[in-house]
Amino acid sequence: MIRYALTRLALLVLGLFVASALIFTTLRILPGDIAQLIAGVNSTPEQLAGIRERLGLDRPLPVQYGEWIGGILTGDLGRSQLTGTPVVSELLQKAEVTVPLGILSFVIALLVALPFGVYAAVRRHRPDGVAVSVGAQALAAVPVVWAGMMLVVVFAVTLGWLPAQGFPRAGWADPAAAFRALVLPAVTIGVVEGAVLLRFVRSATLQAMGQEFVRTAAAKGLTRTQALLRHGLPSVGLSVVTVLGVQVAGIMVGAVVIEQLFSLPGIGRMLVEDTGNRDLVKVQGELLVLTGLVLVIGFLVDLVHRLLDPRQREAE
């Protein structure tokens, strides 16, 4: 196990390195002269030189890359080119919206996918089981932004139960209002992502139902459903763990779009604004944090999977 964990850790570090190099190459080397990009067409040579010096663009690229990485290791992602605020402090502030939104969406996705996925598998030959499968297939095809609009029409515009947009100015100092602001966005992401996950849970359950130990349990007198629930579910859980990494990436992408729709001041909305403003230093930091998150979660998921799977433990 330790050997596996170390190999996997090495792969994670390599992954973070490749990701950072790719982001740096795309944002720093490909655009050519960033100073020109920032200053605009009507800039004087002095302005350009000033920008270059301020951003360290006058130094060789490997040095710039090294400084960026060095900064990251000490918790510094640089400063916004437009406002001068440190990227890290702004990320932390916006995370107060995005992290709760992500966690809430994830929980909702699991609450949708696990029970209904198992149900759809157990009752796959009955009308209700088929209905759940068809519904999930259709929901998985819905663009998340449109799902959000439909929920706004029903729950905010028509019924008036929840706010259609925005986040309280006081933030989490007003916990009830902050939570209410996140309900519709989280349900939107959670239901759409849950529908994607549901289809996976369904096929994992079907696979478990065909396993020998489940069939044996059924042969010894349990009903097939009892056998599945008592003996098959751990194996379903194990399969589901493997796709949770992809799921987190899906929720993250959903959050970028949904924060825009609901005007939530989170990391996704910040990324959209900075991309529009071409604030490359900020975009660079934000992209690294987001892809880093996907890589780290993938790493954790693999470790958990290894720990949980008795076959892999015994193989060592």
Partner: protein
């Protein structure tokens, strides 16, 4: 298995037939819209703004009196363009990476495999925003980023398949009877990975449709002058509290198209999987819808 057999199997399954019909319908709509739409999709008609669905405007009009049905038909062009463009790029990238990961000497092979595993962590939307931050958003950026994102995905699925076929007897026999590696590739390897590949491509096009809509909605896709379902969603959203019904149509169009590509992919997978017997569940991979937009 012969191609005619796959096609027959796809058509014989209900969802497969649905997928084929939807994909054909969208393609035909896109082509027809080049020649004819009920009204000029960009014609502003302030007197008729927010007209309800009815004669004259089958699906009503938007805030500047443009005919929504005509906008949707013209928007199908953008959707098809992105799906096909991304499909072509994904094919090239996917095949090259899969070939590099399967056919080259071991160190190169393993390097490419690790690289592909890392690149998978970049969601399509983030790739698109990374490129947009530098060059600004455009449909080309959408096509390129979906193509890259999905190409990597195709490579990951196709590579093991290539390795498996590479070790099979008929490839060995081909080599023994004097085929050069490239002849062997064209004659034996590519035809045999084609099923896996086409399935992935169909799912990839579903992702492309979602990505176009999402990115155009965010303002990084289609230019404002071009009809696009995602742009239309963004336009109509501003008036959602007053005219909620109008938002229904572009969303339905996107959902239907994505569903069509997904179901077509599923049916192709079922039809081409030789291990699949009647009534048993497909064991293949699930559509990677979470790679999405």
């Amino acid at each position: 298995m012969r191609r005619a057999q796959w096609a027959a199997r796809v058509w014989a399954s209900g969802p497969g037939r649905f997928g084929v019909i939807v994909v054909l319908a969208i393609t035909v709509t896109a082509i027809v819209s080049l020649l004819w739409t009920p009204l000029d999709p960009q014609r502003v008609d302030i007197a008729n703004r927010w007209a309800g669905p009815g004669a004259g405007h089958l699906l009503g009009t938007d805030g500047s009196g443009r005919d929504i049905l005509s906008l949707l038909m013209a928007g199908a062009r953008t959707t098809v363009l992105v799906a096909v463009g991304a499909g072509v790029i994904a094919t090239v990238i996917g095949l090259v990476l899969a070939a590099l990961g399967a056919l080259t000497p071991r160190p190169v092979r393993e390097g490419v495999t690790v690289l592909v595993d890392i690149l998978i962590a970049f969601p399509v939307l983030l790739i698109a925003m990374m490129i947009s931050a530098v060059w600004g958003g455009s449909l080309l950026v959408v096509i390129a980023s979906v193509g890259i994102g999905f190409g990597v995905n195709i490579a990951r699925v196709t590579r093991p398949e290539l390795r498996r076929i590479l070790r099979s007897d008929f490839v060995l026999a081909g080599r023994a009877s004097g085929l050069t590696p490239s002849q062997n590739l064209w004659r034996h390897l590519l035809p045999n990975v084609a099923p896996v590949f086409i399935v992935q491509l169909s799912w990839g096009m579903a992702v492309a449709v979602l990505a176009e809509a999402g990115l155009s909605y965010l303002g990084f896709g289609a230019p404002l002058t071009q009809p696009s379902w995602g742009l239309l969603l963004a336009d109509l959203q501003r008036f959602i509290s007053v005219h909620p019904l109008s938002v229904l149509w572009p969303g339905l169009a996107i959902t239907l198209t994505v569903l069509g590509f997904n179901l077509l992919g599923d049916a192709l997978r079922d039809a081409t999987d030789p291990t699949l017997s009647r009534g048993s569940e497909p064991r293949g991979t699930e559509p990677p819808a979470a790679v999405t937009a």
